[in-house]
């Protein structure tokens, strides 16, 4: 049994009102303890060291130290793989000073568990639902024959020119997803662009090379190219060897694609996906073989390199919009319009926030009136809880 020992100096007094409960909104294996500071705890770690947390599987069993928090703390999350969900545990919080320690009463039993729903993310759910409803509304409108417009995207208009140019020069076309994986949104957008490029290649009987970094993307790309060739009436053009897996190593992939470009001399190169440090190496090699290059990535760090080295670059979300532009189907157009309306709402919200905040500052400064400032601060605080 734990004992209190007081030798000299500051008397260690136990923390009051210790409570233990299952940590909310988590995946289990975590118990949270809260308490009121010991009267001896002034927040000064020199006088009062802190609190040591002990856990046991029974109220009278052996307690084991599971953590320590410094003076001033009133909370401890016992998140540990040792904790089994549904099993009951008991806790003691020990005040520790230089001269001794004092234990709280035993609290418990308490058991941990996983939650299916994170109640702290209700506001995110609300935004996601709002966006989803807008998208669904516009998809239905597009299905009903409503006309939805997509603005011109320069890089995409150049696809036909690029394929035509390669055909005239008798050169193949190279398409790369970069270091994308199949579970990433830009890969899905890139697959739509690949479909369009493959269709054009099918129409012009031009060879299309698609070297891969990820085997799953390779599988999806092979299906996409095969389908595009079939739909243009040229299934015979499909050759699996033109859709090879190179390696899942970043610079190994870059070296392989560079070598492929030097030997095959493509007339057009498409960089559509996610790229890292290899982007400039690839784009410079494409430039050196005289290929027309159309890039598209959401990687903010790599866009500048593509802008510098390529003929056309789809910047960030332009890549997503490309899917709608190339395949203006109701689902695509509706989702694009829904996203745009969300952006418009964000702009209006920011504008209202800026006006309110500015008026608040000015009224406080010139008329000593704090009402608007307080309202603005409350809105900011509310939004920061998201």
């Amino acid at each position: 049994m734990l004992q209190s020992i007081v030798i000299l100096g500051l008397l260690a007094q136990p923390p009051a009102n210790v409570i233990a409960y299952d940590t909310p909104n988590d995946e289990g294996s975590s118990i949270t303890l809260m308490w009121e500071r010991s009267p001896a705890d002034s927040g000064d770690a020199i006088l009062f060291r802190g609190y040591e947390i002990y856990r046991s599987e029974s109220a009278t069993g052996e307690f084991k130290s599971v953590g320590f928090v410094p003076a001033g703390a009133t909370r401890f999350d016992d998140g540990n793989s040792e904790i089994q969900d549904g099993k009951e545990y008991y806790y003691i919080v020990r005040s520790v000073t230089d001269s001794g320690f004092e234990d709280s009463a035993v609290v418990g039993p308490v058991a941990s568990g996983a939650q299916w729903f994170n109640s702290q993310r209700v506001n995110v759910l609300a935004i996601a639902l709002l966006v989803s409803l807008l998208v669904i509304y516009y998809i239905r409108r597009a299905h009903a024959g409503g006309r939805l417009f997509v603005r011109k995207i320069a890089g995409l208009d150049a696809i036909e020119d690029a394929v035509g140019r390669s055909t005239e020069m008798g050169r193949p076309i190279l398409y790369s997803f970069g270091l994308s994986y199949l579970n990433e949104v830009w890969t899905l957008a890139s697959l739509s662009i690949l479909y369009r490029v493959a269709q054009k290649c099918g129409e012009y009987s031009t060879r299309l090379l698609v070297p891969h970094y990820d085997p799953l993307v390779m599988s999806a790309a092979q299906e996409t190219v095969k389908q595009a060739y079939t739909e243009t009436g040229r299934p015979d053009l499909y050759d699996e060897r033109d859709n090879p897996f190179l390696t899942a190593d970043q610079f190994g992939y870059a070296a392989g694609v560079d070598g492929m470009m030097m030997r095959e001399k493509p007339g057009a190169v498409f960089w559509q996906g996610y790229f890292y440090a290899e982007s400039l190496i690839l784009a410079e090699t494409g430039h050196s073989v005289g290929a027309i290059q159309i890039a598209g990535t959401t990687s903010v760090e790599q866009i500048p390199f593509f802008v510098a080295a390529c003929d056309y670059t789809l910047i960030g979300e332009e890549m997503y919009a490309a899917s709608c532009y190339l395949r203006p189907e109701p689902q695509m157009l509706g989702s694009l319009k829904g996203e745009d309306l969300t952006k418009a709402m964000i702009i209006v919200f920011l504008l209202c926030g800026a006006v309110l905040g500015t008026l608040g500052i000015l009224s406080e400064h010139f008329f000593d009136y704090r009402g608007l400032s307080v309202l603005f601060e409350r809105i900011v605080q509310w939004f920061n809880t998201f």
Binding site: V150, T247, M262, I347
Partner: protein, 212 residues
Amino acid sequence: MNLLGTWIAAGLTVAILSFLYRDNPFYKFAEHLFVGVSAGYWVIYIWAFDVKPMLIDEFLRQAGVEKWLLIIPAVFGVMMLMRWVPRTAWISRWPISFTVGIAAGLALTAQVQGYIIPQIQATLLPLVSIGKTTSETIARSFNNIMIFVGVVCALLFFYFSREHKGALKVGSKVGIIFLMIGFGASFGYTVMARISLLIGRLTFLLQVFGLR
């Protein structure tokens, strides 16, 4: 043995750098070696760090429902391998569709939580900020105005469902200027990082060849 390894690394580095001159047999050798070795390495890596610990070992360790849930990814994995047989290749479309569907669903909350909300939080600013001195007030206000105008105009640039005419055209033009300034800064920053990588590699070569 270490010395031999160092000389091989130096030789392969020179072979890869020879690409700067033109494609040549040394580069081809280094490239094929690199691609082959790295592909083989990743096969072992995926087995050792994904398939074995996350599927096989977990299956042996777990009990109850969690054990049998692991059958689902295992079956999906086998379905992917059906691609090898032309007659059953269509079966691989099922796990691909599942992966794509899950990705799209997860991306929605990730985008809202990870990008949209933090961006709005950082842009909710008053356009005027009073400082201790006039110059501080001007500087802070200018900063806030730049952030607000930059974010709003960049959003206008990415407005696709309306033709960019009139005010929208002006706004999107300002937006692309902000974006390009940002890209320029990023370009310079990254080039500096790349130069330091080059210096590191050249230092290695100089040390190997006894010039440093």
